[in-house]
C-alpha cells in the first residue's frame, strides 16, 4: 500500500512538473468555492477562466504564451484560510496575478498579507467594501466591482423614487454588510429617508426569530436586507415572511441570485433590488460568447471575466508578466483613449497593443476604473414580478 502511494505521489509530481511549462503564465483564481457565496463562485471562476482560455487560444499574449488558471478557495469569510490559500498560489504555484478575492473581508486580508508583501497584482470582481478604496496597496489592487459607497447612493435613490421613506435595515455582520449598511444609511438619511433600525445578523445560524422580532417592532415600509442569498439573508427573509412582519424587501447585490427566485418567488412580489450590471453591448456579447457553458448573468460573473482580461491586457501592454511591470498599465488598458474592446475581442486587443496602439477595455460590464482603481459602477435595478427578477432599468 505504502509503495503504491509513493508511486502515485511520484507520478503526480512528475506529471505536475511536466505540465508546468515555462512558457505558461499562471493566474490565481481565488474565490469562495465553499462558504456563504458558494452558489455564485462556480460561474465567476468559469467567467475568469473563459478570458484566460480566449487569450491562450488566440496565441497572441507576449508571443504566444499560454495562460493557466490555478483555483484556490477563499472561503469568503475565513481570513486565515484565505491568506494561506493565496500564499500557496504565490509561493508554491508562482502565479503572476490574482483574479480575486471575492468577499471584502478576505480580499483585504489577502491584499495586506500576501499581495502587497509579495508584490502581486490583485483584481477583485466582487469585493465592494468602501474600506478597500483607502487600503494600502502600492498600486497593486484593482476591482471591477464598484465600491458600496456608490451602491448605497443608488439604493437610496431607488427607494426614494418609489416613495418609500421609512425602512428597517439588517446586514450580515461582516465587512461587506457593515460597509454597505453604513453607506446606505448615510445616503438615505441625507436624502430625507428614515432608517428605523440598523441591526446585524450572523450568517449560518439556526434561527432568526430574534432578529425579525426586533426588525418588526421597529417597523418600516420595506425591509432592506444587506446579506447573502445563500446565508442569513435568506433566513431573515423567510422568517419575516412567515411571521407577516414584512411583505416587500429591498435587496442589494449579495441577495440577488437564482436562489432568490427559487426560494421565494411570488412570496416577495413587488420587492426591489439592484446589483452591478450594465446595458452596454458588452453584457449581451458576453452572454452570447458564453452560450450554455455556464450562467453568464449570474452576479459578478461578467466582472470576473473582465478582471482576468484586464490582467492579461496589462501584461501585454507592459510586455512583461511581472506584476511590478504591468501594475501601472491596468488603468491604461481599462480606460479611454483607445479602441473599445468587448468580450470575445481579447485577441484583437492583444494585436492592437502589440502594434503599439491603445485600447479602452469595455468588456462585459462597461469597465471604467476611477480613483484608486475601482469601477465607477453601473447598476441594474430589478423588481420581482410574477416571481421572477426583472430589469427595471440601468443606472
Amino acid at each position: 500500500m505504502k509503495k503504491l502511494l509513493m508511486a502515485t505521489a511520484a507520478t503526480a509530481l512528475m506529471t505536475g512538473s511536466a505540465l508546468a511549462d515555462d512558457h505558461a503564465v499562471k493566474l490565481g483564481v481565488i474565490l469562495g468555492f465553499t462558504g456563504p457565496i458558494e452558489s455564485l463562485t462556480p460561474s465567476m471562476a468559469d467567467g475568469a477562466e473563459l478570458a484566460m482560455k480566449e487569450v491562450t487560444d488566440s496565441g497572441k499574449l507576449l508571443g504566444g504564451k499560454a495562460v493557466m488558471p490555478v483555483r484556490a478557495d477563499s472561503t469568503c469569510i475565513d481570513a486565515g484560510a484565505a491568506t494561506a490559500a493565496a500564499e500557496r498560489l504565490v509561493t508554491a504555484e508562482g502565479v503572476k496575478g490574482i483574479m480575486g478575492a471575492d468577499c471584502s473581508g478576505v480580499t483585504g486580508a489577502i491584499l495586506a498579507n500576501v499581495a502587497v508583501p509579495n508584490g502581486v497584482v490583485m483584481i477583485s470582481p466582487s469585493a465592494t467594501s468602501p474600506a478597500l478604496s483607502s487600503a494600502e496597496d502600492n498600486g497593486l489592487f484593482f476591482r471591477t466591482a464598484p465600491s458600496d459607497a456608490r451602491q448605497g447612493e443608488v439604493m437610496a435613490d431607488v427607494l426614494l423614487e418609489q416613495g418609500i421613506e421609512e425602512v428597517a435595515l439588517t446586514y450580515t455582520n461582516n465587512d461587506y454588510g457593515k460597509g454597505l449598511a453604513d453607506s446606505f444609511k448615510s445616503a438615505y438619511e441625507s436624502k430625507g429617508g428614515t432608517v428605523t433600525i440598523n441591526a446585524a445578523h450572523e450568517d449560518g445560524k439556526a434561527d432568526y426569530t430574534a432578529e425579525v422580532g426586533a426588525l418588526a417592532a421597529a417597523g418600516g415600509d420595506r425591509l432592506v436586507v444587506a446579506g447573502y442569498v445563500d446565508q442569513g439573508g435568506a433566513g431573515i427573509v423567510r422568517a419575516a415572511l412567515d411571521s407577516g412582519a414584512f411583505d416587500t424587501f429591498h435587496f442589494p447585490d449579495g441577495m440577488i441570485g437564482q436562489a432568490l427566485e427559487d426560494n421565494f418567488g411570488t412570496d416577495i412580489e413587488g420587492s426591489t433590488g439592484q446589483h452591478p450590471g450594465t446595458d452596454s453591448p458588452g453584457a449581451a456579447k458576453f452572454v452570447e460568447q458564453v452560450g450554455d457553458a455556464f450562467d453568464a448573468t449570474s452576479p459578478f460573473t461578467p466582472e470576473s471575466y473582465d478582471a482576468a482580461a484586464l490582467i492579461l491586457l496589462a501584461m501585454q501592454a507592459a510586455g512583461s508578466v511581472e506584476p511590478g511591470d504591468y501594475k501601472d498599465k491596468v488603468m491604461d488598458v481599462a480606460n479611454a483613449p483607445g479602441e473599445k474592446i468587448y468580450p470575445g475581442e481579447l485577441g484583437k486587443a492583444l494585436d492592437i497593443i502589440a502594434g503599439g496602439g491603445d485600447v479602452d477595455y469595455v468588456g462585459a460590464t462597461a469597465v471604467e476604473l476611477i480613483g484608486p482603481g475601482e469601477s465607477a459602477g453601473n447598476y441594474r435595478q430589478v423588481e420581482i414580478k410574477d416571481g421572477k427578477l426583472t430589469t427595471v432599468k440601468y443606472r
Binding site: 434561527d207 426569530t209 422580532g213 417592532a217 445563500d230 435568506a234 411571521s243
Partner: protein, 336 residues
Amino acid sequence: MDFLNAIVALSNFVLIPAVAYGSQLALGALGVTLIYGILRFSNFAHGDTMAFGTMVVVLFTWWFQSMGITLGPLPTALLALPFGIIACAALVIGTDKMVYQFYREQKAKPVILVIVSMGVMFIMNGLVRFIIGPNDQRFADGERFIISARDFKQMTGLREGLAIKTTQGITVVVAVIAVVLLFWFLNRTRTGKSMRAYSDNEDLALLSGINPERVVLYTWLIVAALATVAGTLYGLDKTFKPFTYFQLLLPIFAAAIVGGLGSPLGAIAGGFVIAFSEVTITYAWKKVLGYLLPETLEPDGLVQLLSTDYKFAVSFAILVIVLLFKPTGLFKGKSV
C-alpha cells in the same frame, strides 16, 4: 383591543417561534444527552448526523413528490421520515462498528472519544455535501400555514397578525410524541431499563447480565431516530443546508449542558431555556409597549435590552452561569 394586539404581537414574534425552535433544540439535545449518558462521550458529530438523516428524508421526499405521492395538507417529508431514520440508523451503527467500538474495547478516555467524534463529524459533513451539495434545499410542501398573518388580521380585525406555520404545529406535536415515546421506552420497557442501568453504573449492569453491545445498539437506534426527526423538523420549519446543521451543534450542546448532561428531562428544559433566552432577551418591546401604555408614555426608542448581535452571548452567558453555580445542570445530570 390594544391589550389583545400586544398579546398577539408578542406571541407572533416571541412565543410561537421560540416554542418551535425550543422543541427542535430539545430533540437534538436529547440525542446528545443519551449518548453522553450511555456511551459516555460528547458526540460532536450529532449536528451532522442530523444533517445526514434529513438529507435522506429530503431525497425520499423528492422521490415521492415526483411520483405524485403527497400527504395533502401535511408535508410529504413526514412520509419519508421512516426511511430517513433507517438510513441514519444504518450510518450511525456502521460508524459505531467501524470507529467507536474499537475505542470502547480499548476503554479509551472520554476525551479521546470526543476527538474521534470530531473526526466522524468532518467525514459525515463531507459525505452529506458530497451527496446533496452544500446549497439550500427546499422540501417543504403541503399547506404552509395553519393560520397566516393576513387571515388572522381579517378574521379578528386586530392590527397585529398572528402566523402559525404548519411546520411549527407539526414540530410541537411530533416533539411531544417523540418525547412521550422515549420516556415510556426508558421507564417501562426492559431494554429501556437496562439502558438506564448501564448508564447509572456500567459495572453493576454488566454483572447483572446486561449485554453492553445490545445497549449500545439500541442507543444508536434511538439517537438516529431523534436526530433525523429533529433535523427534519428543523429543515421543514426553516431550510435544509448542511452548514447550518453544523452550526446547530452549539445551541444543542448549550441546551444539553444547561439541562444537565445525561438527563433527558434536562435536555428538554435546556432546549426551551436556550430558545426563549435567545428570543426574549433581545426582543424590542417597542410595539408591545406601544399597545399597552397610554399614548403619552409610548416609547420612542426600541426598548431593547440587548441588540440581537448578542443573542448568542445570552445563551452562552446562561451556560457559564449554570456551570459556575450548578455544574451538573438544572436537572442533576453528570458534571462536565
